[in-house]
């Protein structure tokens, strides 16, 4: 009876909290919109192109419609039919987002598994940690756009043996993997090492093998750390997919859309703005998905344990 009521209050609390967050986010977006329009109105009231402003004029963004399309134009562009298609931009962006999401999801899945495997190996053999961790870190300094074409060509040529047909978007997933495994490996390792000495000693006193300790103590203890990493990895996988699409020339996705809209920016700046907003929304959605999963798995206590 008591626990039931507590549960109900918990849920009400949660709904309240989510509601509050949505309101705060909405207010923030509106404020940003006002700041954008306000700056624009200010700039235009003084000098449209701002060439004459001392120093400031060459530093701050210009306020004409080419450089700062009106917010209303950007929003209506989502509903505007695009030439050569029978679809509105919002619909096209949704399709591109699905394309990117597929790449990112595969990259995220592989990256998480690889990252966790690295974490387990490093946790098992301390000496490896000292030897390998620098390489894991160094891997993140490799510029993605430099390796992207290599991965695409390599994928096309060398993955023919796979039982399924290798597509270019899978190469983009590998690029996304490159960004996702790192936070998982590093945080996973920290999580696996997080059990207190007394807990480890207790397992030892049971004569538990290393793998038993792993399954029953280390892995469960690492879950909160993992979720923190997965949140980073999920957004990073979107970034990786977008960067991969831009450089690799796959036939779709938000990255390619952004790149192309940047190219025809002159004749439609609002399309580029809309595409960037679309990507931001996708990033926020995957972040929220992982956060939701975290709450489902850990509940409130789990989250509090780590924070």
């Amino acid at each position: 009876m008591i626990t039931q009521r507590a549960g109900r209050e918990d849920r009400r609390d949660m709904l309240k909290r989510i509601g509050r967050q949505i309101v705060v986010f909405g207010v923030f977006v509106v404020l940003m919109g006002f700041a954008y329009s306000g700056y624009k109105a200010l700039g235009q009231s003084i000098d449209d192109k701002q060439h004459d402003w001392w120093v400031v004029g060459s530093v701050l963004p210009r306020t004409d419609d080419l450089n700062m399309p009106p917010i209303l134009d950007i929003l209506t562009e989502f509903g505007a039919l695009q030439g050569g298609t029978d679809k509105v931009l919002g619909r096209l962006l949704f399709e591109e987002a699905l394309f990117t999401l597929r790449e990112a999801a595969l990259g995220f899945a592989i990256g998480s598994v690889v990252g966790m495997a690295i974490a387990v190996v490093l946790a098992r053999w301390k000496r490896l940690e000292r030897g390998l961790l620098p390489y894991v870190i160094a891997s993140q300094t490799v510029p993605l756009i430099a390796i992207a074409p290599i991965i695409v060509i390599w994928g096309r040529k060398n993955f023919g043996f796979m039982p399924w047909e290798w597509k270019d978007w899978m190469s983009v997933s590998i690029i996304a993997t490159f960004l996702t495994f790192f936070p998982v490996a590093v945080n996973g390792l920290r999580g696996l090492q997080s059990p207190k000495p007394e807990n480890l000693e207790l397992m030892e006193s049971y004569a538990a093998s290393w793998s038993e300790t792993l399954w029953r103590l280390r892995l469960p203890a690492s879950v909160p750390y993992l979720f923190a990493a997965l949140k980073i990895a999920a957004t990073a996988s979107i970034v990786g997919a977008i960067v991969g699409e831009i450089s690799a020339g796959v036939g779709g996705g938000l990255g390619r859309r952004i790149f192309l809209e940047a190219q025809r920016y002159t004749t439609g700046p609002e399309r580029l703005y809309a595409s960037v907003i679309g990507s931001a929304i996708l990033g926020i959605l995957v972040f929220l998905t992982i956060t939701g999963a975290e709450r489902l798995v850990l509940g409130r206590q789990g989250r509090e344990a780590i924070t």
Binding site: N67, Q82, G83, K157, P163, E165, R257
Partner: protein, 374 residues
């Protein structure tokens, strides 16, 4: 006990996976079996647009099938160097500008130009008419935009031909692949392809008049006129495979033949080819923009006095002269850099079919510009 069940789930998943992929394979076999076409792939230098209309038309209208090929077109990207893709086996043929094919070739890739499709360069330097830039000399002291990545060679050679030092007499500015910098006044002259960025600026509203920008608003330097034009789109193939693999060579002849047939078709039916490109789902500009591009691309190809796809030795020499004098190439490439035997065979086959391979009577059409190219 708990661990056992976990393994069991894994095993079941594995079996499912294997079964699913096995089924997938069967489907593929059934789909591929009846046709006896040779599968080849073509790496483009850029995204689908009318610049590649001839190839898309050849796919769409079955010209490749007629010569026994099943062609897959692979689009390009920012980072994709077609020559590298070709040499590493990522594609069977590639479209590349001549200098952008010769530079990696000098670095050791054994590729060769088998058909010089574009006979003229499409690169311009565009400025506002009131800027006083009417010739290369007038660029002195100006901010001159260029895209870099090897797109600046003609500009550098042009400056040199006018006696200007690219480092001290002008300020070279790396610009975006659009015309905003020119319109913003950040640069005085902007690099533009006649079939793309130049159209883009004409599709833009002039904030001063409220109407579209007009051609009279601009002053154009055309590198073809200056004499520093370099050859652009050509079909490239793997030179080693051409020597060792008779089937590949036969496929190359067939590929060039059907591609050139596609270009001849687009010369005579520009609107149909524009529609094909738009239907492929060009992400770039609207139908009006692609129609403009189709018209300008045709003018870069036609007329082809020696026959379409044949190398113009004079322009080739000019390209090499510029490339070596600008330090783009260390030395003039050897004879294997291009070969005409494949294009000649292809042209002979086309002529036998009664197809006009020269387009002597070609005259550029007039395409209405629409705001935003929609």
């Amino acid at each position: 006990m708990k661990k056992n069940s976990l393994w069991r789930i894994l095993a079941i998943l594995l079996v499912f996976g294997l079964v699913a992929t096995a089924c997938g394979d069967d489907d593929d076999d059934v789909a591929d079996a009846p046709e006896e076409l040779i599968a080849v792939s073509l790496q483009l230098q850029w995204v689908p647009q009318s610049q590649f209309a001839g190839y898309y038309a050849a796919v769409e209208l079955g010209f490749y099938e007629d010569v026994g090929l099943d062609v897959t077109i692979i689009e390009g990207g920012l980072d994709i160097v077609p020559a590298t893709v070709l040499d590493s086996g990522g594609a069977d043929f590639a479209i590349s500008w001549v200098p952008r094919g010769l530079v990696p070739r000098e670095e050791g890739l054994n590729i060769t130009n088998i058909a010089q499709v574009f006979q003229r360069s499409g690169t311009l330097q565009v400025s506002f008419a009131d800027s006083g830039i009417d010739s290369v000399d007038d660029l002195a002291g100006k901010n001159v935009g260029n895209w870099g990545f090897g797109n600046e060679f003609e500009l550098l050679a042009g400056l040199a031909s006018a006696g200007l030092d690219a480092n001290s007499d002008v300020t070279l500015v790396q610009q975006d692949f659009n015309m905003s910098a020119l319109i913003n006044g950040d640069i005085d002259a902007s690099q533009a392809m006649i079939y793309n960025e130049y159209a883009m600026v004409l599709e833009t509203i002039n904030p001063d008049t409220g109407e579209l920008f007009q051609p009279e608003d601009f002053s154009i330097i055309d590198w073809n006129d200056v004499g520093t034009a370099m050859l652009q789109d050509a079909i490239w193939a793997d030179a080693d495979r051409l020597e060792d693999d008779a089937d590949y060579r036969a496929a190359a002849v067939a590929f060039v033949e059907a591609s050139l047939r596609g270009w001849a078709h687009c010369r005579d039916n520009p609107q149909e080819c524009t529609d094909i490109v738009v239907a492929v789902g060009t992400p770039f500009g609207g139908p009006a923009h692609q129609a403009w591009m189709m018209n300008e691309i045709n003018a870069l190809i036609w007329p082809s006095p020696g026959g379409v796809g044949l190398m113009d030795q004079g322009l080739y020499d000019q390209t090499i002269e510029i490339a070596t004098s600008q330090g783009i190439l260390a030395a003039a490439p050897d004879d294997g850099a291009f070969r005409t035997d494949i294009a000649e065979e292809a042209i002979a086959n086309l002529e036998a079919q009664g197809i006009d391979v020269k387009g002597s009577g070609f005259a550029k059409g007039v395409v209405e510009v629409a705001e935003g190219g929609e």
